[in-house]
Symmetry: C2
Subunit: 223 residues, 2 copies
């Protein structure tokens, strides 16, 4: 697969990818697939007029992205009614060109601009908490002890609309200058992916609690 | 290993981790190890007064972090003399607690606050380009075709001081409420790591170019 450039939704001025525009993808399904595969989003916001940045978990529900934290969480409080920029990045490989200059990385990333809103409706909060667990590990909600009222009260949920967002994708081999192609330098891609080790059961667990299949066969790949 | 909390350098007001302060690490060696293992940093900055965020590669040279891009790169130009917040995040595992509420992720992250400076000295620019390649794939510089003058001229290098930075680390098992420990729910950690697939040689390469050992035995782990 080479660099993709499909445009099926009109981007706003701000989400129009300016540098290396050939790497821009505005297709909604591509945006959602990246968000659904990712685990960590980075959130940029203003604090006392200066740029701040924090990594955090998230979940998607249709056209909304949910963040969560403690009620007094400074970032989340600032995000309620505040402008933010969120980014999810997946690294797919290292791109080794013949020339130092053309080295690159294959990746898929989504950038979202939006204003956060505190979720106050209890049913929506509860559902967001379900989605946040299910985003990390699908199937887990049916096993885990559900949130009680005091946990629900202690949790701040903030949602962002997925209205203004775009994806940027680089894939495929290195793009070298033609004059460099004959150089006797290995060139190509070293693929990267997140992989999962042997599950480590908590020492405090009772004996004979079986390993769930959703842990044993864990993957971020979606059908 | 459980959650770490070592303080060997005085943090500034801004880098004092406020939420879950027990996860803060101000140790310089810990900060550098995270930066050296990571491949992608997220950069938050202001553009027309609003928060913006872009993922990009980077390299470290002692107490400096280098970014690079095209001369007209909007982000990099904004960063020259502009305030920014940079973050590198490494995901180490999924933390499955008995309760939905205590689910978490193990991670190591570094946040840096600083103002960017354009690197104009040609020797420093050239050295930064070397470091940017060597950061991605150590050993590569000796094989790759070095930058020529026009590539050097086309490249904008911006450096940030690593003066105001801190790390945040979560490691170890889930921390559940005592009342939940006896629940018959599997709890523990599913370790995560970036892994490397079979190198994919570029179809345009001449035959018989050998795969370098630094690709064959590639790892982000440092001694």
């Amino acid at each position: 697969m080479n660099e993709r450039n499909s445009t099926t939704a009109a981007p706003t001025l701000r989400t129009t990818v300016r540098r290396l525009a050939k790497r821009a993808v505005y297709d909604r399904a591509a945006v959602e697939a990246i968000l659904d595969e990712g685990l960590v989003c980075h959130v940029a916001f203003l604090y006392e007029g200066e740029p701040c940045l924090i990594p955090t978990g998230y979940a998607r529900d249709g056209s909304w992205l949910y963040l969560h934290g403690a009620q007094k969480n400074r970032m989340l409080r600032t995000l309620c009614g505040g402008k933010a920029c969120l980014c999810v990045t997946l690294l797919d490989g290292l791109v080794l060109a013949r020339s130092a200059f053309h080295h690159s990385m294959n990746y898929r990333s989504v950038v979202i601009y939006g204003e956060g809103t505190e979720v106050t409706d209890e049913a929506e909060k509860y559902e967001a908490m379900r989605l946040l667990v299910e985003h990390i590990i699908p199937g887990r909600w049916s096993d885990a002890r559900r949130p009680n009222q005091s946990e629900l009260d202690a949790t701040l949920i903030v949602r962002f609309p997925l209205d203004e967002c775009s994806a940027k994708v680089r894939s495929g081999p290195p793009i070298d200058d033609e004059a460099d192609l004959a150089l006797p330098v290995w060139a190509g891609v070293l693929p990267a992916q997140l992989s999962w080790g042997q599950p480590q059961p908590d020492a405090l667990s009772p004996p004979d609690v079986p390993l769930p299949e959703y842990v044993n066969s864990y993957t971020r790949k979606r059908e």
